[in-house]
Amino acid sequence: MNESVSPPGIDTPSPTLSARLRELAGYLAAPAAGRLTEEQRALSLGIARRLVIDVAARLDPGIDPGSLWEDWLRGGLPCATRLAGICFARAEEHRWREQSALRTSPPPILSEPDLSNGEAPAVGAPLSDVDRAYLALQIADRRRFDALGNPALALADVDREIFRALLLDIAAWRLSELSGDKRRAAGLGEAVRIATERQAAETGMTEAGQAYCEILGTALPDAAATAIARHNWPTLIALAASAHRRTYDDMAMALLTAESATLPSLLSPLRLDHAAIAPLEASLAMLPARAVADAGHMEFSASGATPR
C-alpha cells in the first residue's frame, strides 16, 4: 500500500497511524471522488521540489537544497496550500503537452533532394518583429524546464506573493540552521528583499505572451488557430491569457479545467471559429484524469491564496 501512494524515487518514512487515519477519513468523506493519479502526484511534487530548490539558491547559495527538501518532506511543505495551485497547473499543462507530443503523427522522412524543392528552413534569415516576439515566447517557455527536460516553474512566472511567502519560509528554515551565526542570519532579511526586487523585475510567459499578442494585431486569430492545429498549447495559453489580461498560470488552469461547452466563450477574445476549436476540445477530452473547475478551487489560486 505504501508503494501505491508514494511518488517514485522518494524514500518516505514509515507512515504514522494518525496520517493513515486522516487519509482514510478523507477518503470515506468522499469515496466516489476521483483522486490524484500517481503521475499527477509525482509531477506536482517534482515541480514543487525544483521550485523550492531554485528559490533557496536565489536566497542564499549556501543553503543545502537536499537538506532543506528532506526536512520539508518529513514535516510537510509550510507553503503547501499556496504551491498546490501553481504546481498542479504546471503539471497538468505538462501532461497535456506530453499527450499531444505522443499522439503526433510520425514525421516524414526527408532526403536532401526532397528538401531542396520544398520548404528548407531559412537558417540565418533576419527576424521579423513577429518572429522575434515568438522566439522570446519560446525562450520564456523553455525556461520552465530543468536541465533534464522535467517540468519546472520559472521564477519569473511565479506570483509575487507566493514567491515572497516561499522566500520567507525558506529564510525561516535557514534561520534555524544558522542559529550560531548571527552575522549570516542577519543578512537573510536583506537577501529576501533583494530576491523579491529581482523577481519583480523579471519577465516570464505572461509578459512574453502579451508582447507577442500585441505585435500580432489583426493576425491574432490566425496565430491562435495555427497554435491549436499544431498543438502548440503554450502559445495558445499565452495568447488567451494576454487577450483576457490574465496571468499565464491562471489561464493555463482555466483552460485545462474548462468544461468543453465553455471553451468557445473562454476563447472568444481570440475570435476563433468552432472548427478551429475542435482539435483543442478533442485534445482536452482525451487527457486522462482531467479535473474540471469548480467554485471551491479559488482558495488555491495565486490571487486567492490565504496569506500566512
Partner: protein, 456 residues
C-alpha cells in the same frame, strides 16, 4: 486523428509504386521503399484480398513502426494494373509511454548541457547539468553555429547540417564552445502537423578535454583592432555568423546572374554581376580570415598532432589550385610522388598554410612563369618551400610581411592582409615556423618547417 486522406498505389506484383509521405515513411521504416514489395503485412493481405475479390474493400488497418502503433481505415480499390489505397483516420499511439524526462532518451548526464533550437537553429533553451561547466551568457536566440563553433568530422562533413537537411537526429557533431571541445547530438522535433520545429539535444564536454577558462573580454585588447568591439570574441562570432549567410547569398545570386543561368542578359550587366560575386568572395575570405584569427588567438588554442607527409600535402594543395595557376599560364613544379617529408602537425591546418602560400605565389607571379614546391629535411625539421618568380620582397618588407593586415602597399582586392599572419601563427602553434627568403626581382621563397617524424 486526421481527416486527411493518405493515398498510395500498388502494382500487380504487390510493389508500392507511389505513396503519400506517412505511408511511404512507414514502408521505409519497415525496411522497404518505393518500387519495392509492400512491407506492411496487414495492408499487403488486404490488398491481396481486394484483388482476389475484384471489388473495393474498406477495413481497419493495423500497422506499427519502431515507436508507434498505427490504427487507420483503409479503402482498397483494385483494378487491372494493381490497386489504389486510400487511408483515413490515421491515428498513432506510442508503443510504450515514455517517462517524463524526454531529453535524448534520458542520456543527459550532470556534466552536459541540454539545448533546444527552433527550425532556423536559433537557441531557445540552454541549460547546464548540475556538474556541467557554466553556460555562456547571452545565448538566448543566438544561432546554434554562433554559440557552438562547428568542426567538420573526418569526412569533412557537419552532422548537424546533415540532420537539418534531413530533419532527423544527429550525433557526434564536434564543436568548440566557451573554450571547450564538446560533442553535440540532437533529436529532430515536430509538431502535431508534422512540421519540423527544431532540435533538442545534448552538448557534452569531449572526453579528456581540459576546460579552458575563457579570458575576460576586457583583457583581450588587440593592437590591430584597438578598442573596437571586434576584440570581444562574442562580438566577433556574432559578426562572423551575421555576415557569412548574407554574403553567401549575395555571391550565389551574383554568380547566377553572371552565369546567365536564368536566361540571357546584357553582357555588361553580366560583367557587373561577376564583379559583385568577386567582391563578395573577397569579403567572405576576409570573414573566414577574421574567424580564423579569432580562433587562433583564443587562449588555449592548440593544433592537433597528426602524422602528416608534407610532400603529400603539397601535392594536394597543387591539385586544389592547379586550375587557378593554369588560368595565368603558370606552371607548378610540385614534389614528385616519391618525395616524402614525414612531419607532425594538424593535417587541415598545414593544408591551409600551403594553400595560402601557393595562392599568394600564383596571385603575385607574372603570367607564364613557374612556381616550385620542394620538400626537404634538416635535422629534426621537415620543410616545404614554395618559391615563385614574382617581383620579390625587399629586406624591409620581409620584416613586416607576417604582420596583421600587412599588404606591402598593395591596394587591390587580392587579400585581407591576414593570410600570412595566420599562417605563421598556425605554424608556430604546431611547434614549427614560417619564414621568407627573397630579394627584389628574384621572387620569394616561403618555407614552412615542422617537427620531422621518423618513419620506420
Amino acid at each position: 486523428m486526421s481527416e486527411r486522406i493518405i493515398r498510395g498505389r500498388v502494382d500487380r506484383a504487390g510493389a508500392l509504386i507511389s505513396a503519400d509521405t506517412p505511408l511511404l515513411r512507414l514502408q521505409q521504416r519497415a525496411g522497404s521503399g518505393l518500387e519495392k514489395p509492400l512491407a506492411l503485412p496487414h495492408l499487403a493481405r488486404l490488398v491481396a484480398l481486394a484483388q482476389r475479390l475484384h471489388r473495393d474493400i474498406s477495413r481497419p488497418l493495423y500497422a506499427a513502426d519502431d515507436h508507434s502503433d498505427i490504427h487507420a481505415l483503409v479503402r482498397i480499390v483494385p483494378d487491372a494494373d494493381g490497386a489504389s489505397l486510400e487511408i483515413s483516420d490515421w491515428r498513432t499511439r506510442p508503443v510504450t509511454l515514455p517517462q517524463v524526462p524526454a531529453i535524448a532518451d534520458g542520456a543527459a548526464v550532470p556534466q552536459s548541457w541540454t539545448w533546444e533550437c527552433d527550425p532556423q537553429l536559433r537557441l531557445v533553451a540552454l541549460r547546464a547539468g548540475s556538474d556541467a561547466p557554466a553556460i555562456p551568457d547571452g545565448w538566448e536566440g543566438r544561432s546554434l553555429s554562433e554559440l557552438f563553433e562547428l568542426q567538420p568530422d573526418e569526412d569533412g562533413r557537419f552532422p548537424v547540417l546533415r540532420g537539418l537537411a534531413r530533419q532527423s537526429r544527429f550525433e557526434s557533431q564536434r564543436v568548440h564552445a566557451a573554450g571547450m571541445a564538446m560533442n553535440l547530438s540532437g533529436e529532430a522535433q515536430f509538431d502535431a502537423t508534422g512540421r519540423f520545429t527544431g532540435f533538442r539535444g545534448l552538448a557534452a564536454v569531449a572526453e579528456g578535454e581540459a576546460i579552458v577558462e575563457p579570458k575576460a573580454a576586457g583583457t583581450l585588447v588587440d593592437p590591430a583592432f584597438g578598442s573596437l568591439p571586434l576584440s570581444d570574441p562574442q562580438f566577433g562570432r556574432r559578426i562572423d555568423g551575421a555576415l557569412r549567410g548574407p554574403l553567401s547569398r549575395i555571391i550565389a545570386t551574383a554568380e547566377t546572374i553572371s552565369g546567365q543561368f536564368d536566361g540571357p542578359i546584357r553582357a555588361d550587366y553580366a560583367r557587373y554581376a561577376g564583379d559583385i560575386a568577386h567582391a563578395g568572395r573577397h569579403l567572405l575570405g576576409l570573414v573566414d580570415d577574421l574567424a580564423d584569427l579569432q580562433n587562433i588567438e583564443r587562449p588555449g588554442f592548440k593544433a592537433a598532432r597528426d602524422e602528416i607527409d608534407l610532400g603529400d600535402l603539397a601535392r594536394r594543395a597543387v591539385g586544389l589550385l592547379g586550375m587557378k595557376a593554369e588560368e595565368k599560364g603558370i606552371r607548378i613544379d610540385a614534389p614528385r610522388t616519391d618525395d616524402r617529408a614525414p612531419a607532425t602537425g594538424e593535417f587541415r591546418r598545414v593544408l591551409q598554410v600551403l594553400l595560402n602560400l601557393l595562392g599568394n605565389a600564383i596571385r603575385y607571379s607574372p603570367e607564364s612563369s613557374q612556381i616550385w614546391i620542394r620538400v626537404d629535411r634538416e635535422d629534426d625539421r621537415a620543410m616545404v618551400t614554395v618559391a615563385d618568380q614574382g617581383q620579390g620582397i625587399d629586406a624591409d618588407q620581409q620584416a613586416v610581411v607576417f604582420e596583421k593586415f600587412e599588404r606591402l602597399g598593395r591596394t587591390d582586392s587580392g587579400g585581407s592582409g591576414l593570410g600570412l599572419y595566420i599562417a605563421r601563427r598556425l605554424a608556430r602553434a604546431m611547434d614549427g615556423d614560417l619564414t621568407v627568403d627573397s630579394a627584389p626581382g628574384q621572387g620569394a621563397r616561403f618555407t614552412l618547417s615542422l617537427p620531422a617524424r621518423d618513419v620506420a
